[in-house]
C-alpha cells in the first residue's frame, strides 16, 4: 500500500436513531500517521461517526474501509482499531498491568512479549512503575494515561479518541494536548480524535473535519479552516466571526465586488479556485474580530477597506479588549465585534462616538451562498 493511500475511508455514512437523522452523508479519509480531528458542537454526529468506525454502531448506509478492506459488517473485536473512551472505561477488577495486557492477550500476543510491552506503553504515557497499582487508586489524569497506554499497547492501525481530555481540568488538559500530539508523532499511528473544543483541535490536528448537524461542513488543516472558512458555521465555530449578508455585484475576474448589508461596497480578492455566485445573488461574508482594526481618527493606512462606524461598547478582558461597533445605518442593531490588543487605552469611555473600522481586503471571507 502506498504511503499516501487512505488508511481509513468512510462514506457516505447515513444514520438515524429512530426518526431523527444523526448522520446525513459523512465522508472522510484518514491517511497513515495522520491526526484527524472530528470537531463540532454536541449532537453534530462526530461521536456517532467514531462509534461507527469502532463498530459499536452500524451505519444505515455507507461503508467503512480500513487498510483497503471493507469492515462495515465486522464486529468491534474484529477490527484493528482501539478506542480511548471518554470516561476511560478501565476495568476496575484488574490492575494497571492487566488492563494494558487485556487487548494483547485477546490478540494472542505471547506472554513474554506482553511483559516487555507493558512497561514500554507505561513509560510512553509517563507512568513507569505503575504496573501493580489498582485502577481505583489512580487520579483522573493517571486513568487517562492508562487508558491511552491500554489502547496503544496493541498497536492498532487507527486509534480512536472520544473526547479523552474532557474530564480533566484546564491546565492538565493543555499539558495532555501537547503530550498526545508528541506521542502520536512518535508512534506514527493514525489518530481520529473527537472533540468540541476548537482550541484543542487547532493545537493537535493535522486535519480537522468540522461537523454540523450530521454533515461535515469543511475538512482542512487548522490553517485552512481558520484562514479560509467555507461556511458561516465554520467561521463562527472556529475562532468566531462577524457574519454579514452581501449581494454580489458585477466585478473583475478573480475578485469579488460585494455590497455588504446593502450599505458598504467592497472589492476583495478571491482565493484560488474559489467560485463566486452570479451577480445579483446573495452570499454570507465573514470577518474575524481580531482582524477588524478600530481607528478613532481618520488616519487609516493605505489599502484597508474602511467602514464608518459608531463605538457602542467596549470591554477590557485583560489580554484583549473587545469592542462593539455599529457599522450599518440600515441595520442599527447589528453589532460588529473587533478585538484590540490588551491595551487599557483601547477602552474608550465615550460611547456613541464615530470611529473607523478597517480590514485587509483578503480578511473578508466569502462563505456560503444565501437562498
Amino acid at each position: 500500500m502506498a504511503d499516501d493511500a487512505p488508511l481509513l475511508e468512510l462514506g457516505p455514512l447515513q444514520k438515524s436513531f429512530g426518526t431523527s437523522p444523526v448522520l446525513r452523508g459523512v465522508s472522510l479519509t484518514v491517511k497513515k500517521g495522520e491526526f484527524m480531528t472530528l470537531l463540532g458542537p454536541s449532537g453534530c454526529g462526530k461521536t456517532t461517526t467514531l462509534r461507527i468506525i469502532a463498530g459499536f454502531e452500524s451505519p444505515d448506509s455507507g461503508r467503512v474501509k480500513l487498510n483497503g478492506e471493507d469492515v462495515t459488517d465486522q464486529a468491534p473485536y474484529e477490527r484493528d482499531v482501539h478506542t480511548v473512551f471518554q470516561h476511560y472505561a478501565l476495568f476496575p477488577h484488574l490492575d494497571v498491568a492487566n488492563n494494558i495486557a487485556f487487548g494483547m492477550r485477546m490478540d494472542k500476543v505471547p506472554e513474554d512479549e506482553i511483559k516487555k510491552r507493558i512497561p514500554e506503553a507505561l513509560s510512553m504515557v509517563k507512568l513507569a512503575g505503575f504496573e501493580t497499582r489498582r485502577v481505583s487508586s489512580l487520579s483522573g489524569g493517571q486513568m487517562q494515561r492508562v487508558a491511552l497506554a491500554r489502547a496503544i499497547a496493541g498497536r492498532p492501525s487507527v486509534l480512536l479518541l472520544d473526547e479523552p481530555l474532557g474530564a480533566l481540568d484546564l491546565k492538565l488538559r493543555k499539558e495532555m494536548q501537547l503530550e498526545l500530539k508528541n506521542l502520536q508523532k512518535k508512534l506514527g499511528m493514525a489518530f481520529v480524535y473527537v472533540t468540541h473544543d476548537q482550541e484543542e483541535a487547532m493545537t493537535m490536528s493535522d486535519r480537522i473535519a468540522v461537523f454540523n448537524q450530521g454533515r461535515i461542513e469543511q475538512i482542512g488543516t487548522p490553517g485552512e479552516i481558520y484562514e479560509m472558512p467555507k461556511t458561516s458555521f465554520v467561521a463562527d465555530f472556529i475562532g468566531g466571526a462577524n457574519i454579514f449578508s452581501a449581494r454580489v455585484l458585477p466585478g473583475d475576474p478573480g475578485r469579488a465586488h460585494l455590497l455588504i448589508e446593502d450599505e458598504h461596497e467592497v472589492d476583495v480578492p478571491l482565493d484560488p479556485g474559489e467560485v463566486l455566485p452570479k451577480p445579483g445573488k446573495s452570499v454570507k461574508v465573514g470577518i474575524r474580530p481580531e482582524r477588524v482594526k478600530v481607528y478613532y481618527k481618520d488616519e487609516l493606512p493605505f489599502g484597508l477597506l474602511r467602514f464608518d462606524a459608531t463605538l457602542k461598547d467596549s470591554v477590557f478582558l485583560g489580554d484583549a479588549c473587545q469592542i462593539y461597533l455599529q457599522m450599518f445605518k440600515k441595520a442599527p442593531d447589528h453589532r460588529t465585534i473587533a478585538w484590540a490588543g490588551g491595551d487599557r487605552y483601547a477602552v474608550h469611555d465615550d460611547l456613541d462616538v464615530p470611529v473607523f473600522a478597517a480590514v485587509q481586503p483578503d480578511d473578508v471571507y466569502i462563505l456560503e451562498a444565501e437562498e
Binding site: A54, P76, Y77, A89, P92, M106
Partner: protein
C-alpha cells in the same frame, strides 16, 4: 453569627437524622433484638413436664443438639439449601442478564412478573404445587396423555418436589440482587472489552461476570440463608421422609412442646449464619 447558625443547622440536621432513623431502630429493637435475646435466654432454660418452662440454667439443650442423630438432618438441609441455591443461580443469572441487557421496554413488566410468586401466600402456592405434582395431578396427566409415561409417578414427597418448591419460591431472591449488580456494570466497560478484541463470550467471562460477582454472592446468600431455615416446603411438598432443620425446629415448638431445645437449635443456626457471613465479609475486605 454565621458560625452559630451553621452549628445550629448542623445540630438540627443531626436531630432530624436521629428522628428519621428512630422508627426503624425501634422496630428492629422490639421485633428482632429483644425476641432474639429472649430466645437465647430460653435456650438455657429447662423444659419441665408438659412443656412448662422452668428458668433453671442448663446446657443440656445444647448437648442434645450436638447429638450425632441430628447430623443427617443438618447435612440434608445443607444439601437441599446448597442445591436450591445452585439451581437458582444457574436459572437466575441468564434471567437477570436478559432483564438487564436485552429486555428493553419489557423490563418492568418482566420484573413485576418475577414478583408474582409473592402475590399469594407460599402456603397457597405450595398446595397448588401439590395439585400439579400429585399422582392424579396435572403433570402426570399430561405426561401420560402424550405417552411419556404409562403409570403415574409420585413426583410429590420427593427431593425433586422440595427442590422445585425452594427454587420456585426463592428464585426472585437470587435474581433481584443479580439484576441490580448487572445494571451497575457500565456498558462502556463491555464496549472497551469488545474494542480490545474480546468476543462476546470472552467479554462476558473477563468483564461482565467478574464485575457482577457482588450480585452473585448477595443473591446466593439471600437464597441460601432462608432455604436453611425453610420448613414449609419440606412439610408440604417433601413429606415426613425429608425432614429438614427447619422442620426439626418447628416441631420442637409446635409438636414436641420442647421450646428450650427449639430455642437452642435456632440459636445455633443463627450463630452459624452470623459466623459464616462474618467470615465472608472479612474475606471480601481482604481482597
Amino acid at each position: 453569627m454565621t458560625k452559630a447558625l451553621s452549628w445550629l443547622l448542623a445540630g438540627r440536621r443531626e436531630a432530624a437524622t436521629h428522628l428519621l432513623l428512630a422508627p426503624a431502630a425501634l422496630w428492629l429493637l422490639f421485633m428482632l433484638v429483644i425476641p432474639a435475646l429472649g430466645m437465647v435466654a430460653l435456650s438455657f432454660a429447662t423444659n419441665g413436664p408438659y412443656g412448662v418452662i422452668q428458668w433453671t440454667f442448663t446446657l443440656e439443650n445444647y448437648q442434645r443438639a450436638f447429638h450425632p442423630k441430628y447430623l443427617p438432618v443438618l447435612l440434608r438441609t445443607l444439601g437441599f439449601a446448597g442445591s436450591a441455591t445452585a439451581i437458582c443461580l444457574l436459572l437466575g443469572y441468564p434471567l437477570a442478564y436478559y432483564l438487564s441487557f436485552r429486555a428493553g421496554k419489557w423490563r418492568n413488566a418482566l420484573l413485576v412478573g418475577l414478583m408474582i410468586p409473592f402475590w399469594s401466600s407460599c402456603l397457597v402456592a405450595f398446595y397448588s404445587w401439590m395439585i400439579v405434582l400429585g399422582k392424579e395431578g396435572m403433570l402426570n396427566n399430561v405426561l401420560i396423555h402424550f405417552g411419556f409415561l404409562s403409570q403415574p409417578i409420585g413426583f410429590l414427597y420427593s427431593p425433586f418436589a422440595i427442590l422445585l418448591g425452594l427454587v420456585y419460591f426463592y428464585l426472585p431472591f437470587t435474581v433481584l440482587p443479580l439484576y441490580a449488580s448487572l445494571e451497575k456494570v457500565p456498558r462502556s466497560y463491555i464496549e472497551a472489552a469488545y474494542d480490545l478484541g474480546a468476543s462476546r463470550w470472552t467479554a462476558f467471562f473477563k468483564v461482565t461476570l467478574p464485575l457482577s460477582m457482588p450480585g452473585v454472592i448477595a443473591g446466593c446468600l439471600l437464597t441460601f440463608i432462608p432455604c436453611l431455615g425453610d420448613f414449609l416446603t419440606a412439610e408440604i411438598l417433601g413429606g415426613p421422609r425429608y425432614y429438614l432443620l427447619g422442620n426439626l425446629i418447628s416441631n420442637q415448638f409446635l409438636m414436641a412442646q420442647d421450646w428450650p431445645f427449639g430455642a437452642a437449635l435456632t440459636s445455633l443456626l443463627l450463630v452459624g449464619l452470623v459466623a459464616g457471613l462474618w467470615t465472608y465479609q472479612r474475606w471480601e475486605e481482604s481482597l
